[in-house]
Each structure stands twice: as structure tokens, then as C-alpha cells.
Symmetry: C2
Subunit: 354 residues, 2 copies
């Protein structure tokens, strides 16, 4: 609820919930979406706040608004076959009273010890990870599936040509390691475009580390860009540079890049090895030397392979199929264990980040 569905500004969770919701509706499922009232959807929208909290600014207690949304959703639980929750752990205490199964997609990192006992306390909830890597810190819970994020296939078009520059895209922060991207590009002698926003919290890092590196003639700083610009930049790139140094649960920009046909030069962290196949859709590296060598070889990778991998594994359709399998299993499980209605017909994504 911090953003509308889909989000007007940055909002990873809301974007994925939107893609999933519209795909489920397109497949004929009846979906009720609990989200901020300025959301746009073909599902039945239940406005849990008049406007997204980031726009609103006036909401003094976001947690209470999310609690209210969960109360509404669970009060109506009997209308649904499955409740699909995207609000981290805050919905868990509502689940034991409900006969309707809850599927909970975890969108954040899980290496924060204080959240572990909370997830473990609700073994009836089907947890979905957005990558296998995301699960590592959290054992002893009921993992129902990994469902990788997906994009509508036409959101980013295939760009067969490619261009001459490397691209760093997203957010400037220490763990994204833009400094590595810059050093590698300079050593490889290939131009690098940087299209990234700088959050307030990362401003000191940007000033201290990144800005002094932007003077080099091979480095072009573009600042924050919109979605159309993003596609153009991806389409014109010979490779996306993704030298992250944190266990990112799922890096959306990797599949955006593949959708455009652009291979990814990445470090083996978090979800990266599940998304990029070394030598096929990019290169998995560790050191800067390896990344410089990868830049030299990246033209060997057919752009069509990248797009084909995207279409086979990372579309909204593939994501919806993954979730429908989980919904079906959980509805069956509830049917066997408790008294339950019939098939998966109605799904309720509850959106928001606590």
C-alpha cells in the first residue's frame, strides 16, 4: 500500500502484484485486490486506503492501515478459495482463525534473525520464495514453492541490434557496487551509461565514491530515467552490468534486460545464478578481471537467446502458472485437512509492505 498497484514511482512488490493480478484475470480467474484506492486493475479492487501512502504523506500510521486491510480481507475470507498475501509477516496472526488457505510471498531478504521465529510459528501458511537463494537463512518453515518474478511479455520489446555501450541501471547504493561497473568498463575500454536514482540515504556514498569516478570520458551519468527511457537504454546496450555484493532476493532488472535481448554480466550473489545462465544469457563472474574478460566475450552471446530465455522462464504467464500450482495444492490441502469449498476460482492478493 506504500504504492498503488501498479506503482507510479518505485515499488517492486506492487509492480509484481499488478503483473500477477492482471495475468490471473486474463486467464479467467476471479481476483479481488486489496490495495490503495488509486490502484488500476481489471480485478475487483477493495480500496484499503484512498491513495498510496507514498503519495498521501498524510497517513500517520501505515502499519494500522495494513492491519485494517488484513482485517477486511480475512473477514471476507469465506468468499475466496485462497488468500495470497504480500505484506511480509504482519498478516500471519490472522491466518490460524481462517479456514481459507493463505499463500504468503516473501519479497524481502530473510537474513534478519528476529523475523525467523515469527515465520516458524505459522506452519499452516504456504510460504513462497522469489528465488531459492532467498530461502537460505530461514529453515524450519513450510516452503511451498519458489516462483520467480515475471513480466508481461510485451512490456519490453526485443531489440535485436544492441549497441556499443555497457549499462548500469537501477539504484546507486554501496551493495550494488557501481564502482566495480565503472572500473570494469574503463579497463575494458567500453563506454558505460549509468541510469540510476540516488536515494537520500545513499547521497553521501554517491558523493564520496561514485561522483569522483564520473569524470572519465568513457562514463556517462544519466541520473534517474523513466520506463520508456529504460527500455531504450537496455535495447541499446551490449550488456547490463550487475556486479552486486548482497544477497538480492530477486533482481528484476536482470529479466528486464533479458526481455530486451541484452545479456547480463553479473556476480554470483542471491538470485543471480538462478536467472543468468553462464555463457548462455550472460556471464557469472567474481573478480573484476573476470568481468573485464566477460565484456570482451559478451558479443558471442546471441541476443535472441536472452529473449528466448525470458519468454520461457520470466514472463507474467509463467509466474501466474507457478502461483496457480501453489493455489491448487493449498486448496486441496485445505480440502483434505479441513472443510473447504471447491476449486481455485477466486484469489485475493493483499498488497503492501509492512
Amino acid at each position: 500500500m506504500f504504492e498503488s498497484v501498479p506503482p507510479r514511482a518505485y515499488g517492486g512488490t506492487e509492480r509484481v502484484v499488478s503483473y500477477l493480478t492482471e495475468e490471473l484475470v486474463a486467464r479467467g480467474h476471479s481476483v479481488t485486490l486489496f490495495a490503495s484506492g488509486d490502484s488500476e486493475t481489471r480485478a475487483h479492487l477493495v480500496p484499503a486506503a484512498p491513495r498510496s501512502l507514498r503519495l498521501e504523506g498524510g497517513a500517520q500510521d501505515a502499519l494500522a492501515l495494513h492491519m485494517g486491510m488484513l482485517l477486511d480481507a480475512y473477514a471476507r475470507a469465506r468468499e475466496f478459495d485462497v488468500i495470497h498475501c504480500h505484506t511480509d509477516y504482519i498478516g500471519l496472526p490472522f491466518t490460524p482463525r481462517s479456514k481459507v488457505p493463505t499463500v504468503l510471498t516473501l519479497h524481502g531478504r530473510l537474513d534478519i534473525p528476529e523475523v525467523h521465529p515469527v515465520y516458524r510459528a505459522f506452519p499452516d501458511v504456504a510460504l513462497v520464495s522469489i528465488s531459492d537463494a532467498q530461502r537460505h537463512p530461514l529453515a524450519g518453515v513450510r516452503w511451498a514453492a519458489t516462483v520467480h518474478h515475471g513480466l508481461p511479455p510485451d512490456l519490453y520489446r526485443f531489440h535485436p541490434g544492441g549497441g556499443k555501450h555497457l549499462l548500469f541501471l537501477g539504484r546507486i547504493s554501496p551493495e550494488k557496487r557501481p564502482d566495480i561497473a565503472i572500473r570494469v568498463a574503463i579497463r575494458a575500454g567500453v563506454p558505460l551509461r549509468i541510469a540510476a536514482k540516488v536515494d537520500k540515504v545513499d547521497q553521501p556514498y554517491f558523493e564520496r565514491v561514485v561522483r569522483p569516478m564520473l569524470d572519465h570520458p568513457l562514463v556517462e551519468w544519466l541520473g534517474e530515467v523513466d520506463d520508456g527511457e529504460k527500455e531504450r537504454l537496455l535495447g541499446e546496450a551490449i550488456a547490463l552490468m550487475f556486479p552486486i555484493d548482497w544477497p538480492e532476493p530477486f533482481g528484476m532488472v536482470m529479466i528486464e534486460s533479458l526481455a530486451c535481448g541484452t545479456p547480463v554480466i553479473a556476480r554470483r550473489r542471491g538470485s543471480v545464478p538462478e536467472v543468468i545462465v553462464d555463457g548462455h544469457t550472460g556471464f557469472l563472474c567474481e573478480t573484476e578481471d573476470e568481468m573485464v574478460a566477460a565484456v570482451a566475450r559478451v558479443a558471442e552471446i546471441p541476443r535472441r537467446s536472452c529473449r528466448a530465455t525470458f519468454e520461457a522462464h520470466f514472463t507474467a504467464g509463467r509466474m501466474a502458472e507457478g502461483y496457480l500450482r501453489v493455489y491448487g495444492r493449498e486448496a486441496d490441502r485445505a480440502l483434505r485437512g479441513k472443510t473447504r469449498s471447491l476449486a481455485v476460482r477466486e484469489i485475493v492478493p493483499v498488497v503492501g509492505t509492512a
Copy 2:
């Protein structure tokens, strides 16, 4: 859990929970306290975090820690006759599954609309307000009682003499109106001591509004003071200045002042008219003119009346009796409504602010 019980630094809720817990233990009740592990209590302490979160600094997810604490408390619910919760609304979703009644003391202001539906959704929970005034914004819930805060009777000694200065004590912030206290003291020609901390968020207000007023020879700025210093300053004051302009749910400093025998010159906001009796333990004013007149008359108020009012209405013993009545009624109610164990013998304060 943001502070230990009792708190080492500022922590209103934790301080009250400590006074209540120790008083209940002293009266022979068996009490289990869920709180941070560095708490000091004669009750059974269940450490819900090794150290208070304000000291710890390392806890990345305070909400998850509070959820974990609530999970533990409600998992053990059958051991207790009553669960007394101090964590605002976050414990509510745990209550419907429990046969043990929950008493929830609301410590904050309630004029935030998004919290209302959450409280209304759990009519089985006995809500306790810390003043009648606090209830106004929140109708349609089950108010079980108002229980004013209380202090151990020997925490602040009676100071029969009083002194020659007025005192502003607490925190500098716009809604506490230190500017009014200063103007009134100057117009009345009586020295004013200001013993107050300035939080980071209030620093601009302090610099812009308050600091320029501190130069006057009648005004003495003392900054933040410790508990011992606080008692000395209260004991030496002819009156406490409390010209607040917000609906403070309960102003602890008023009863600290009465305990020392010091009358209070206050504005009629929030809990003030429930604590101060006009002409008997201080003066209730609206305008600065009225406050200037009150300063001139305040010597008429016998300091012994203030202490007597404190002893009759605002001790930890009186607070404990108020809560014991609520525990008893709720245990009876649970006994009639559901299957329940016997008497109020074991009470679990769960502490923390969400």
C-alpha cells in the same frame, strides 16, 4: 521493548509497567513480565530480546521482535489468568484464539483515524484508557476502565517548603509551549527554571523560538536533568508550569509535581482537568493573562494538599487496585462466557511500544 523495564533513559510506557508490575508482586500476585532481557523486576522475567532496543541499536526489525514476544506470551496463555498488554494494537490479532482475557492499556494518543477500525475489530479485548480525555476520538470500542498512572509513594518525597521559582520540566517541543511558560514568568516577575531535553526533531524549534527567549535575567536554562535533580527542582519550585497545547493522554510530570507538594499551573488540555483540581492542587487556565494571575495566587495553595491528592489518587498502589478490578471483571467475564480457570493470580504484562 524499546526500553528496559524500568527504563534507563526516557520510556514512559516501560516506567509505568515497572511500577505496576512491582506493586502487583508486592501484593502477592504472581506476575510474568515479557520485556527486554536487561529489565529488572521481582516478577518472572521472560526476555523477549537480550537488551532494550534503544540500547541495542542492532535490531533491524523491532516489529518482528514484538511479534515474537506476543507469540511467546499467547503460546503460554493457559498459564495465566489475564494477559495485560502494553503494545498498542499489534497484539490484537492474537487475542481471538485465546481463552485467556486480554487487557490492553492504550498509552498513546488516539486521534489517528487509521487505528480506529483496528481497535473496533476486537470487541472482546478490554481496553483501558489512561485518562477519560484520551478516549474521545475512539468510540465504538469496549472501554473497560480509565486507570490513571501512579508512582511509588516514596519515589518523590514531599517538600514542605517550596522555593521562589517556577519550573518547566520535561521535553522542549512546540505543543508543550515552553514559550508561554517563559512569557508568563517574565510578566509575573518570577524566576523560571527550564529543565528539559531537546530531541533532534525539536532542535529547529528550540533554536528558532526558545533559545532567543533564554537571555532574560529571570530565565534559567538547565538542559536535561536526571531523576535526583528532577526531584530537587520540583521540591524547590513554587509551581510547575504546564501550558501544553495538545491532548496529552496523561502528563506524568503533573503527578511527580504533586508528589513533591508542588502545585501545577496548567492549561485545560487532555488529561489535565482529571489530574489537577482548580484552586486545590493548582490552577486550570486558558490565556496567558489567567496564568499570570495564577502565579500571583499560587502561594495560597497548601503544598500538603498537593501531596495528599497524590497519595489518594496517583500512587502505584491506587493504579494497581484499578487494574486488579479490571482483571477480576475480565476473568469473571471469561469464566461466564467461556471455560476459564479461577481467580486473578497470574498477570502477564507484555511491554513495548509498536
